[in-house]
């Protein structure tokens, strides 16, 4: 079945550690890719998105993600996390020319220790 998989359900890091959250999808064809963040008690906000062009995408707050088409992956990275990065992170995929539907992964809860 077509899906979006986030490998880590819960990640705990200390401040200044490097972060990589995995995301794989199983859709064929051209895709648009997103990472959203949900801070505690808040709504989803877009961190970054990939539509075309440079597969290394830079987003807000020092986050970046790399689209590797051959691996169907779109992993999120940050070289040095902060306590304020504690949040839930969602990878999402939209298949181009299908419909407006965006399929979300199940989320990764990131907890940063001060």
């Amino acid at each position: 079945a077509q899906s979006v998989s986030q490998h880590n359900h819960h990640v705990i890091l200390s401040e200044a550690a490097s972060l990589e959250l995995g995301c794989n999808y199983s859709y064929g064809g051209t895709v648009n890719l997103f990472w959203y963040v949900q801070y505690p008690g808040q709504h989803l906000q877009l961190l970054l998105k990939y539509f075309s062009g440079d597969p290394l995408v830079k987003g807000i707050k020092g986050f970046e993600a790399e689209f590797i088409k051959s691996k169907f992956s779109f992993n999120l990275r940050k070289p040095s996390v902060q306590w304020s990065d504690t949040a839930e992170y969602f990878c999402a995929v939209n298949v181009v020319n299908r419909d407006d539907k965006i399929i979300f992964g199940k989320g990764t809860r990131l907890h940063i220790l001060p």
């Binding site: 648009n32 997103f34 959203y36 949900q38 808040q42 709504h43 989803l44 906000q45 877009l46 998105k49 539509f51 839930e88 969602f90 939209n94 298949v95 181009v96 020319n97 299908r98 419909d99 407006d100 539907k101 965006i102 399929i103 979300f104 199940k106 989320g107 809860r109």
Partner: protein, 113 residues
């Protein structure tokens, strides 16, 4: 200057009741969505409307009925509420075409007792 707003923010009600959640966006978008986020934070699309026309209707019980009076509003009416309906419901909007990001509302936390 709120972009996507929802009312109410919290809704606590008894089983069997009928309730509505309202959503409005002032971004000039023409597509709006309803998502359900369960207790495990899993986010699943329920409906989407484009220019007041239903585009996506996932396998949602027919107790849930979206209504779009105009392209800036998408309301969600739920009949005969059940315990399993307890969740956070997010409204979102985007501009036509799937290449545009979706902007989310603050969510409505529905608790069915």
């Amino acid at each position: 200057d709120t972009a996507v707003s929802q009312t109410p923010k919290y809704l606590v009600t008894q089983m069997g009741n009928d309730k509505s959640i309202k959503c409005e966006q002032n971004l000039g978008h023409d597509t709006m969505y309803w998502y359900k986020q369960d207790s495990k934070k899993f986010l699943k699309i329920m409906f989407s409307y484009n220019n007041k026309e239903l585009i996506i209707n996932e396998t949602v019980p027919n107790r849930f009925s979206p209504k779009s009076p105009d392209k800036a509003h998408l309301n969600l009416h739920i009949n005969s509420l059940e315990l399993g309906d307890s969740a956070v419901y997010f409204c979102a909007s985007s501009l036509a075409g799937t290449s545009n990001e979706q902007f989310f509302g603050p969510g409505t936390r529905l608790t069915v007792l």
